[in-house]
C-alpha cells in the first residue's frame, strides 16, 4: 500500500440510492474479494491482536475495529477559453483502519493531541485496485497493527489529559448501534457516450466573448465510488455512490483595480443527468454577464436595514447558518486551547445544542432533514444515501417543528442532548464522520408569493428609509462560494484568514447584490458587499417567507475539516459531500452590510492580447 494521508486531495463521496436493496446477496459472483479479506483479517485481529503493557503482565486489546475502503473512479476535465487544460481518468482505492481502546463510555477517539504516535506506515493508505484477497489482507494487517498502536498511545494521552481536568464529562464517547448488513451489487460506471472533453471545451469557450475576463476555468468532475465498511460489531456494507459536477470560476478587475469574481456550478447524481452543452453555456453566459455588470457597478456602501434574500441566496445562506447549528455531537477534546478557540471561531460549536424545546426559528417554520428523499417537486436532490459513513441507516429527522428545536443531526458520537445516531455521520474521502445534513427542507405554513413578499419588503423599505437621503434597500440574488469563484488557492486562504474567524459570528459573503429604490422600483447592482452579524439568532425573527421553494444543490466542504462550521457551505466537488437545501425567499428586517470587501490593485500595464470570440 501507499500512504495517502488522512486528508487526501481527491475525492468525493456522493450519493446514489441503491437501486436494489438486495441485502447480503449476490456478492460472490462478482470476483470482489474485498469483504472476504476484511472479514478474515478482522477475525484474526479480534482473536489475537493484543499488546503487553511494559513492565507488567497485563495485556490490552481494542474494543472496536473498523475497516473502511473507498474505491474511486474519477474523470476530471479542466478547460479554459475553449481549450483543454487537462484530462484525467483514474481509479484508486484507499483504506482507513480505525481501532478504539477503552470502552463506549470513554475511548481513544475524539481527542486532538499535538504529539501523536506515528507508525512507519500508518493506518491509512492507497491499496491495490484489483479487488483481490491477498494484497488487501497484507495491507489490512499492517494498517490494523498501526491503528491499534496509535489507539493505545492516544488513549493513554487522553486519559492523562482528562485526569488533569476538574470535572469529567458524563457524555459517552461512542454510541452503540444495530449492526447493518447491506451488500449492493457492483456497479459499472456509466460515463455515457457524451464527449466530456469536447463539452468542457465548448462550454468554456463562452468566456472568449468577454474580453475583460482575466482568468476562468471550467471543470467537469465525474465520480463513481464503491464504499466498503466492516466493523467488529458485525456491520458489513458495500454500497455504490456517484456524483457529477460542472463547476466554473471566473475573475476580472474593475477599472479602479478592485478584483471581482463569479462562479457557476451544477450537480447531478450521474453524468447522464448533467445539463447539456447549451444549458451550461447559457448558465455561464449569465454568470459572465453578471461579472461584467459587477465590474462596472458602484461599490457597496455601509447599510443597515431590510434585506430580501431571493430563494437561491436564501438557500445558500441557510447552508452557512444551519450547518454548525444542527450538529448535535460533542466537539473534539483538544489538547490546545488555541485550536479550540479557532474551531469555535469557525462556528464548530453549535448555538442550538442545549436549547431543545426552545424556539429557534419563526413559529410557522418546520425543518426536516431527509436522507431518503430523491427529489423535491420534480427537481432532483443530491444529498441522499441509504447508510451513512458509520454504517447507520439514514433517518428522516424533523429538526424544528413550529419554530421549536426538536432534534439535532447525530453521528455515533454522542452530544449533550442526544446519544444515539440518526444516520447523519457523513464523511468525504475517509475523513472522520461528522454530523452533516443531507437533504434539508425548510418550509413555512405561512408562505406568501414572491410578489407579495417583495411588496412587503418595499413597504418596509419606504418606512425605514423615510428620513434618509438616499432611499434604497438591498436585495441579495446570489451568495458567493469562494471555493469556486476564486481561482487561486492563495486567494482562498487569504479570504479565510480575514473572513474565517467571523464565520461563526455571522459574517456572510453575498455575491450579486442589488439596490432597489422603493419609489421607482429601479434596481442597481452594487459590488463587494459583506454582511456582518447575521447569525442563527437572526433566523428567529425572519420577517417574511416566500412560497418560491428553490432546490439548492451544493457540496459541503469536509476536505479541510470544515464540516459542521459555517465554512462547510464552501465546498467544491473535489473536496466535498453532496447536499441539498430547499428554501424560499427570506426577508430580514435588519441586516448590517459593509462596503467593499477587497482592496484595489494596480491594473495590468498592458491591455490583454487579442482573442477571437469564436473558437
Amino acid at each position: 500500500m501507499r500512504h495517502a494521508g488522512r486528508i487526501a486531495a481527491a475525492a468525493v463521496l456522493s450519493v446514489v440510492f441503491l437501486s436494489s436493496t438486495s441485502e447480503v446477496a449476490s456478492a460472490q459472483q462478482d470476483n470482489d474479494h474485498t469483504l472476504q479479506a476484511m472479514r478474515d483479517e478482522m477475525a484474526r485481529s479480534k482473536a489475537r491482536l493484543e499488546l503487553q503493557i511494559p513492565n507488567s503482565d497485563q495485556t490490552v486489546r481494542p474494543f472496536y475495529i473498523e475497516y473502511r475502503l473507498l474505491d474511486l473512479e474519477v474523470r476530471e476535465i479542466g478547460a479554459e477559453f475553449g481549450d483543454l487544460l487537462s484530462s484525467r481518468h483514474a481509479r484508486n482505492r484507499f483504506m482507513d483502519v480505525e481501532a478504539r481502546m477503552g470502552s463506549y463510555k470513554l475511548d481513544s477517539s475524539n481527542f486532538v493531541s499535538d504529539d501523536a504516535f506515528r507508525g512507519f506506515i500508518g493506518p491509512t493508505g492507497e491499496v491495490g485496485v484489483d479487488r483481490d484477497y491477498n494484497s488487501l489482507r497484507q495491507d489490512l494487517w499492517i494498517a490494523t497493527d498501526q491503528a491499534f498502536k496509535e489507539a493505545v498511545d492516544t488513549y493513554s494521552r487522553k486519559k492523562g489529559y482528562l485526569s488533569s481536568l476538574a470535572r469529567q464529562s458524563d457524555i459517552d464517547d461512542f454510541s452503540k448501534t444495530e449492526p447493518v448488513q447491506l451488500i449492493a451489487p457492483l456497479e459499472t460506471p456509466d460515463w455515457t457516450n457524451r464527449n466530456w472533453e469536447q463539452e468542457a471545451r465548448d462550454t468554456s469557450a463562452v468566456m472568449r466573448a468577454f474580453s475583460q475576463i482575466h482568468e476562468s476555468r471550467v471543470t467537469y468532475y465525474l465520480v463513481y465510488a464503491t464504499e466498503y465498511l466492516l466493523t467488529s460489531e458485525g456491520t458489513e456494507i458495500r454500497q455504490n455512490r456517484s456524483v457529477a459536477a460542472i463547476e466554473a470560476g471566473m475573475d476580472a478587475v474593475a477599472d479602479d483595480g478592485v478584483p471581482v469574481n463569479h462562479y457557476y456550478a451544477t450537480y447531478a447524481v450521474r453524468p447522464a443527468e448533467l445539463p447539456s452543452v447549451d444549458a451550461v453555456r447559457k448558465g455561464l453566459n449569465v454568470a459572465c454577464s453578471e461579472l461584467m455588470a459587477l465590474r462596472s457597478a458602484p461599490p457597496a456602501q455601509d447599510y443597515t436595514g431590510p434585506v430580501l434574500f431571493e430563494a437561491r441566496a436564501a438557500a445558500s445562506l441557510l447552508a452557512q447558518e444551519l450547518s454548525p447549528a444542527l450538529d448535535g455531537a460533542r466537539p473534539p477534546i483538544s489538547f490546545s486551547p488555541v485550536l479550540e478557540q479557532m474551531l469555535t471561531g469557525l462556528g464548530a460549536k453549535s448555538d442550538w445544542v442545549g436549547r431543545l424545546g426552545a424556539r429557534v426559528l419563526p413559529p410557522t417554520v418546520t425543518l426536516v432533514d431527509d436522507p431518503g428523499a430523491k427529489e423535491f417537486q420534480g427537481t432532483p436532490l443530491i444529498g441522499g444515501y441509504a447508510v451513512d459513513e458509520e454504517g447507520v441507516r439514514g433517518q428522516k429527522v424533523t429538526l424544528v417543528e413550529n419554530g421549536v428545536l426538536k432534534a439535532e443531526l447525530m453521528s455515533r458520537r454522542p452530544g449533550p442532548d442526544f446519544d444515539k445516531s440518526n444516520g447523519h455521520g457523513r464523511a468525504a474521502f475517509l475523513n472522520d464522520a461528522k454530523p452533516t445534513m443531507s437533504n434539508l427542507i425548510f418550509s413555512s405554513s405561512e408562505a406568501v408569493s414572491p410578489g407579495d413578499l417583495r411588496k412587503k419588503f418595499l413597504t418596509e423599505c419606504r418606512e425605514e428609509k423615510q428620513s434618509e437621503h438616499e432611499k434604497y434597500c438591498l436585495v441579495v440574488r446570489e451568495m458567493d462560494n469562494p471555493a469556486l469563484s476564486l481561482l487561486h488557492t492563495e486567494e482562498f486562504s487569504e479570504l479565510l484568514a480575514s473572513f474565517g474567524g467571523g464565520a461563526g459570528t455571522g459574517d456572510r459573503l453575498p455575491l450579486v447584490v442589488y439596490r432597489v429604490y422603493p419609489d421607482s422600483g429601479r434596481e442597481e447592482m452594487v459590488r463587494g458587499a459583506r454582511i456582518i452579524g447575521l447569525n442563527t439568532r437572526a433566523l428567529r425573527t425572519i420577517a417574511g417567507i416566500g412560497n418560491d421553494d428553490f432546490v439548492f444543490n451544493y457540496m459541503q466542504s469536509q476536505g479541510n475539516g470544515f464540516a459542521g462550521t459555517a465554512l462547510a457551505a464552501f465546498g467544491s466537488a473535489q473536496l466535498g459531500l453532496p447536499a441539498s437545501i430547499v428554501a424560499p425567499s427570506l426577508l430580514f428586517d435588519e441586516v448590517e452590510v459593509r462596503g467593499e470587501r477587497a482592496e484595489a490593485k494596480r491594473l495590468p500595464l498592458l491591455a490583454p492580447p487579442p482573442m477571437t470570440a469564436a473558437k
Binding site: M1, A79, V129, P604
Partner: protein, 587 residues
C-alpha cells in the same frame, strides 16, 4: 540547509532514498557524447513559439521602459506527457496517463549588475517561481493571454523586490563575493529540435508490476512492497528577451523497486533499486528485474537479522556506487557555484580555487553532455539547462586541485559565466546544481588489490575490522553556515571485514559522520571500475535528475555512529500469508 538525495518516487514513505543505478561493470570511461545542437532539418517550429515571442516583444517594449525597467524576460513552456503504473503487494495500485502544460515567466528588474534577485544579508532567497497551467490544446491566443497576466504579476513582484533591495543594500556590509553581478551575460542560442513523444501500452506494465510485487510477498520479512513504472516525454519551449529561442525534448523511462521491513528492535529496513532507460528497447527484462529483487530480498532479510554496529573510527572501503553518493554529498554540493556567494553558506571551497583539496590521483568533472557511461544511462544528461545555457563538461578538480564550480547564471568573482548548470524542478528558480559528477582516478587497482590494501590498513591500525560499505541511501549534507560543516550519509548495506580472514558480516544501523574536507583527503586508493549511481537530488531548486560515477574508494579513517532508530515495534501478528494459524483464505 539540508539536501536530501532522494528518488523520484513520489510516495511519502520514501523520503530518504537514493536511486541507485545498477553497477556498470565496465572499465571504460568513454562517453557517448551528445550534440549540443542536434541538427534536425525535420524539426518543426511550434506555432506557440511565435505566440510567446510576440507577447515577449510586446511586454519588453512596455515593461522595459518602466522605472525600474525589466531588463530580462523569459518565457518557458513545459509540456509533459507522463505515464505511471504502480503495484503493491501483488495488486495494481494505479495506472494513469497525464498530459499537462505549464508556463513560467522569469522577469528581472534593474540591471545585470544589481537586480531584484540580489541577496541582501541573510534574507532567504526566493526559491519558488510560480507555474501557470496552460491548455494542452495548441492555442496561441490563450497562451499569450496567460503570459500577459503572468508577466504583469512578475513585474509587480520584481519591482517591489528591487525597491526593498535598494533600500536595504546601503546598510548591509558587502562581501567580496557579493560584488559579483546578479546575472551573467550569455550568448543567446537558437535551436529548434524535434518534438519527442512516447507511446506506452500500459497493459503489459500493469501485469509486470503485479507480478514483481507478488514475488516480494513470498518473504515474511517484507512488510510492504511498491514497484513503479514511469515514462515521461517532456517538451520545452523557451524564448527570452536576449534572443534565445529553444525547442527541445527529453524522454525518460524508469522502473523503481521498493521494499520495507522491520528489525526486532523496531528499526525500519528499506531496500531500493531502480532502472533508467531512454530507448524503449532497453527496458529491463523480467530476468534482470527478478535478479535485482532477489538481491534486495536477500539484503533485507539479512539486515532484519543483522547485529547493530558500535560507534567506531577506522578504515573503510566504499564500493563504486556508495562512493558515487559519497562524492555527490561531500564534494558535489559544495562545488555548486551559488553556494560560494551566499553569506549563509559555509563556503567550504570558496577561497580554495587553485589549491589541493583532494589526493593528487583524483580528478572530478561534471559533464552534462554525457548520455551514457559504460553502456549505462546517465540521468544528469541534457541539452540545455533551465536557464537556456547549453550543457557543458566542467573540470571541477584536476589531479586534486580545485579548478572550477558548477555554475548557473549567478556569477562569482573570477567566474563570470554559466557553464550550463542552472537547474530546477518545475516551479522553482534555477540555481547551480550537479548533473553528471564523474570521479576519475590515476591510482587505481583491481578489486582484489584494493581489498588486500584494505586489510593491511586494518592491521596497521590494529582494528579488529574495517567497514565495507556497499550501498548508501541518501543522507543529507549541511552546507549552511549556522550548522556544523558535517555530512551524514546513511549506509544501507554495510559489512564488517575482519583482519583475521573470517567471512564478512552484515551489520546494521550505521551512519557515517565527519567533516568533508578531512574525509576527502583521507582517500588512499581507488578501484579501477567506475560505477554509476542514478537518482533524484533535492535541494533549494527542487528535485532534479542526477548521476554520479566513481570507482571504489579506500578511506584510511572514517567515523561511524549509530543510526537513529524507530520506537515503533514490529507488527504484533505475522503476515497473513505466513501465519501458521490460518484464518479464512481466498475462496
Amino acid at each position: 540547509m539540508r539536501f536530501p538525495l532522494i528518488t523520484a518516487n513520489r510516495s511519502r514513505w520514501i523520503s530518504h532514498l537514493v536511486g541507485l543505478g545498477l553497477v556498470a561493470g565496465l572499465a571504460l570511461l568513454s562517453a557517448e557524447r551528445a550534440e549540443a545542437y542536434p541538427p534536425d532539418a525535420q524539426a518543426k517550429r511550434s506555432p506557440l513559439l511565435g505566440a510567446l515571442q510576440a507577447e515577449l516583444d510586446r511586454s519588453m517594449k512596455t515593461y522595459g521602459a518602466q522605472d525600474p525597467p525589466a531588463y530580462y524576460i523569459g518565457y518557458t513552456v513545459t509540456d509533459s506527457v507522463r505515464v505511471d503504473v504502480s503495484g503493491s503487494n501483488g495488486a495494481l495500485l494505479n495506472s494513469s496517463q497525464a498530459h499537462n502544460r505549464w508556463l513560467e515567466v522569469a522577469l528581472r528588474t534593474g540591471s545585470y549588475q544589481l537586480d531584484d534577485t540580489h541577496k541582501v544579508g541573510d534574507r532567504p532567497a526566493q526559491n519558488d517561481s510560480p507555474v501557470v497551467g496552460v491548455p494542452v490544446d495548441d492555442d496561441p491566443e490563450v497562451l499569450r493571454r496567460a503570459a500577459w497576466l503572468e508577466t504583469d504579476k512578475r513585474y509587480r513582484d520584481a519591482e517591489e523586490a528591487l525597491i526593498k533591495i535598494k533600500t536595504g543594500k546601503e546598510v548591509k556590509v558587502e562581501t567580496a563575493e557579493g560584488k559579483a553581478p546578479d546575472f551573467s551575460r550569455e550568448q543567446p542560442h537558437v535551436s529548434i529540435g524535434p518534438e519527442v513523444t512516447i507511446n506506452v501500452d500500459r497493459t503489459p506494465w500493469e501485469a509486470k508490476v503485479r507480478a514483481y510485487t507478488k514475488a516480494f510477498r513470498e518473504s515474511a520479512a517484507i512488510i510492504n512492497s511498491i514497484v513503479t513504472f514511469s515514462a515521461q516525454a517532456q517538451n520545452v519551449m523557451q524564448v527570452t528577451s536576449e534572443g534565445t529561442q529553444l525547442q527541445y525534448g527529453q524522454i525518460r523511462y524508469r522502473l523503481e523497486l521498493f521494499i520495507q521491513g522491520k528489525a526486532p528492535d523496531g528499526m525500519d529496513i528499506e531496500r531500493y533499486n531502480n532502472f533508467d532507460w531512454v530507448d524503449p528497447k532497453e527496458a529491463p527484462d523480467d530476468k534482470a528485474v527478478y535478479a535485482a529483487e532477489s538481491t534486495m530480498r536477500k539484503e533485507l532479510e539479512g539486515l532484519v537479522k543483522a547485529p547493530l554496529v558500535d560507534p567506531t573510527v577506522g578504515p573503510a572501503l566504499l564500493t563504486g556506487r556508495a562512493a558515487a553518493v559519497f562524492f555527490h554529498e561531500v564534494f558535489g554540493h559544495r562545488a555548486e557555484g551559488h553556494r560560494q556567494k551566499d553569506v549563509n553558506e559555509g563556503q567550504t571551497f570558496s577561497k580554495k580555487v587553485g589549491e589541493q583539496i583532494l589526493p593528487p590521483f583524483l580528478s572530478i568533472t561534471d559533464d552534462t553532455t554525457m548520455k551514457k557511461l559504460g553502456g549505462q544511462e546517465l540521468l544528469g544528461y541534457y541539452q540545455f539547462d533551465d536557464e537556456g545555457v547549453p550543457a557543458e563538461r566542467v573540470t571541477l578538480v584536476d589531479h586534486g586541485v580545485l579548478k572550477n564550480f558548477e555554475m548557473s547564471r549567478s556569477p562569482l568573482m573570477g567566474f563570470p559565466h554559466s557553464n550550463g548548470h542552472g537547474r530546477r524542478q518545475l516551479g522553482a528558480t534555477p540555481v547551480s546544481r550537479q548533473g553528471n559528477l564523474i570521479v576519475q582516478s590515476s591510482k587505481s587497482m583491481t578489486d582484489a588489490e584494493l581489498r588486500r590494501k584494505f586489510i593491511e590498513l586494518i592491521k596497521e591500525q590494529q582494528k579488529p575490522y574495517g567497514l565495507l560499505i556497499d550501498d548508501i541511501a541518501g543522507g543529507f549534507t549541511f552546507t549552511g553556515r549556522g550548522q556544523p560543516q558535517a555530512f551524514q550519509v546513511q549506509p544501507l548495506v554495510v559489512y564488517e571485514v575482519f583482519a583475521d580472514g573470517r567471512p564478512d558480516e552484515l551489520v546494521r544501523g550505521v551512519d557515517i559522520v565527519g567533516t568533508p574536507l578531512a574525509a576527502l583527503t583521507k582517500i588512499v586508493a581507488t578501484g579501477n571500475t567506475p560505477e554509476v549511481f542514478n537518482g533524484y537530488c533535492g535541494a533549494e531548486s527542487g528535485s532534479v535528475p542526477v548521476a554520479a560515477a566513481s570507482p571504489a574508494i579506500l578511506i584510511s579513517e572514517m567515523e561511524v555512529q549509530k543510526k537513529e532508530t524507530s520506537t515503533d515495534r514490529p507488527p504484533i501478528l505475522p503476515p497473513p500469508a505466513h501465519d501458521p494459524v490460518q484464518t479464512g483464505g481466498q475462496q
